[in-house]
């Protein structure tokens, strides 16, 4: 089900957190709200869920104005960063909660919960209590609980934020696969651009309470609308007063047309990728080249090389240039 956010503003006290935000989320998509901490992305998610009431603007869920609906009437699944597990209930009862309060028949609840526990690979943990689960298992339980009521949309607030790196990577791959199976319109909040690029169909970049840009991950990476978006979505460096991706810099031994001379400071070998740190004029710059290219150039600290952006490179005027 599609979500439309129209002109939503929200302040906490005197601090504006969302300023006239409009976002369209396509039905069945997996969308990331990406941005730095304090940018307003969690607040926007909570406004969609009905856990916060906007000061102005509307939220439409599958075409129906839900702005004034209480969270329990929105039929929205919400997953919290810190799981929000019902500590006094077993895994099975946690997942069953939404169905129990809807007074579904016992047999139906049992069948549905079994199916969901299987989906999140927690069948053998059904009778445990949340305290007996790991963080990743708790979050999978929370996901099953949210999915149990067959929500129109699934909202996840930094769902992997409290987990360690390894579990995090597993869970995001798993979320992607789950979404491909279940097809529910899903929005998740993250401040990790890699996570957003890895999982999402669409990315909405939010900062300072405003939408900075929205689009497909590839488009955002290749055609950022501003230096902010460009530097938030991937590494950038400054060459000749313009922001460039470090992998879009050609390093040559000889001077060519449009190139800038630079002195090598440091060469860092990171497996396939090699980071070359240089000084061009009075500016620090770095380039990301392959192991093979580095080998051919035989770079040593103190060498003078020549840099220029590759022909198709996307570059933006640097903000302070």
């Amino acid at each position: 089900m599609a979500i439309e956010v129209r002109g939503v503003s929200k302040s906490f006290g005197r601090t504006p957190v969302l300023k006239d935000v409009s976002v369209d989320i396509v039905s069945g998509s997996l969308t990331a709200l990406l941005g730095p901490s304090g940018g307003g992305k969690s607040t926007l998610l909570r406004v969609i869920a009905g856990l916060e009431v906007p000061d102005a603007g509307n939220v439409l869920i599958s075409g129906v104005d839900a702005t004034r609906l209480s969270p329990q009437r929105r039929n929205v699944g919400f997953v919290f960063q810190h799981y929000a597990a019902f500590k006094h209930l077993s895994v099975r009862r946690n997942v069953a909660f939404g169905l129990e309060i809807r007074k579904r028949p016992k047999a139906e609840i049992r069948a549905r919960v079994d199916e969901l526990l299987q989906l999140v690979h927690l069948e053998q943990f059904a009778d445990r209590y949340p305290a007996q689960l790991s963080g990743g298992q708790r979050q999978r339980m929370a996901l099953a609980r949210a999915l149990a009521v067959e929500p129109q949309v699934l909202l996840l607030d930094e769902p992997f934020g409290a987990l360690d790196a390894q579990v995090r990577k597993e869970l995001r791959t798993w979320l992607r696969r789950l979404h491909d199976e279940v097809h529910v319109t899903t929005v998740f909040v993250t401040h990790d651009q890699e996570e957003a690029m890895d999982v999402a169909d669409e990315i909405v970049v939010l900062a300072d309470g405003e939408v900075k840009q929205a689009g497909r991950p590839q488009d955002l990476y290749d055609n950022p609308a501003s230096p902010f978006v460009m530097s938030f979505l991937g590494p950038v460096t400054e060459l000749g007063g313009r922001l460039v991706r470090p992998h879009d810099i050609d390093v040559t031994a000889e001077s060519v047309e449009g190139s800038t001379a630079a002195v090598v400071n440091r060469v860092v070998h990171l497996g396939f990728e090699v980071r070359v740190e240089l000084t061009a004029g009075d500016r620090d710059v770095w380039a990301q080249i392959t192991r093979g290219a580095a080998g051919r150039l035989g770079l040593q600290p103190g060498d003078t090389v020549h840099l220029r952006p590759v022909p198709a490179a996307k570059s933006l005027a640097a903000a302070d240039a």
Partner: protein, 281 residues
């Protein structure tokens, strides 16, 4: 917006802090001191009382406890204490709720006020209650020489137990749990009943138990207002005091032992409830 921090819930399961190696102050010194202190201050006196109480054999114990005035005092004490525990578990939880969840001017003052019955010498509390609810009550509510007076006095001294056991649990309660319940379709009342209340029950039971055991031992606050009429308003502690005054320490010890047994049973019951609660922690 939050950065990824590890919370207590999310902390990776590693070695608990308590299991880590730490410097020890002589092997078992702490345990030894604790046992010695407990023995001198708690165990020894209690044993003496219990011994005194049953010295004359079960028959003597039973007849001392069931003399009409002692039996009446015990029944009144246990009945009133149970009633007080039930009332205060409801009102104390309500007050704790208001103190944690609501904002109002003077909240800090009210929060401090809760402890006043703890701090006040109970005889002073008794005096206050006598002035307020006595024969010359400015509220025109004369509870002097009535059982209601006993209950009021016990309510006053035991309220802090429930408030102070429930309040911290309520403070630590994960608000996300409630929001999760809302988003799953539960209304406020259903959320309270199915999500909040079950998490408070262990603290409420524990507070009620403390209030009850404190109430059965109460002396000072009830002594002035109740008038200590045997068979009507005399509580067990006053009955025991009367027996000591008339030099009947054996039966005083027997009645004391009866109170002790009830208190002990309640505390064990509480412990079981706590274990049951933490198992599901």
């Amino acid at each position: 917006m939050s950065t990824p921090v590890l919370t207590q819930a999310g902390a990776p399961t590693g070695v608990p802090a308590s299991a880590r190696r730490r410097p020890r102050v002589g092997p078992g010194l702490g345990l030894g001191l604790a046992v010695l202190y407990l023995s001198l201050i708690v165990l020894f006196p209690l044993t003496v009382v219990a011994w005194k109480g049953v010295e004359g054999g079960a028959g003597a114990f039973w007849s001392a406890v069931t003399t009409p005035d002692s039996w009446a005092a015990l029944k009144l004490t246990l009945g009133a204490s149970a009633l007080v525990a039930v009332i205060n578990v409801v009102m104390g939880t309500l007050i704790a709720w208001v103190l944690v969840r609501d904002r109002f001017p003077g909240k800090a003052l009210v929060d401090t006020l809760i402890d006043l019955p703890f701090a006040l010498p109970t005889i002073v509390a008794g005096l206050v209650l006598l002035v307020l609810y006595g024969v010359k009550s400015p509220l025109h509510l004369n509870l002097a020489y009535t059982r209601a007076g006993v209950v009021i006095a016990l309510l006053f001294v035991t309220l802090p137990f429930v408030v102070r056991t429930v309040q911290p649990v309520l403070q630590e309660l994960d608000r996300d749990m409630e929001q999760a319940a809302f988003s799953l379709g539960a209304g406020p009342w259903l959320t309270f009943r199915r999500i909040i209340l079950p998490n408070l029950v262990p603290a409420m039971v524990s507070g009620a138990g403390l209030a009850f055991t404190r109430a059965i031992a109460e002396f000072g606050s009830t002594v002035l207002l109740s008038g200590n009429l045997p068979f009507k308003t005399q509580v067990a502690a006053v009955n025991i005091f009367g027996r000591i005054e008339s030099d009947d320490t054996a039966s005083a010890a027997a009645v004391s032992t009866a109170l002790l047994i009830v208190a002990f049973a309640v505390l064990i019951g509480l412990d079981l409830v706590q274990r049951w609660g933490s198992r599901r922690g």
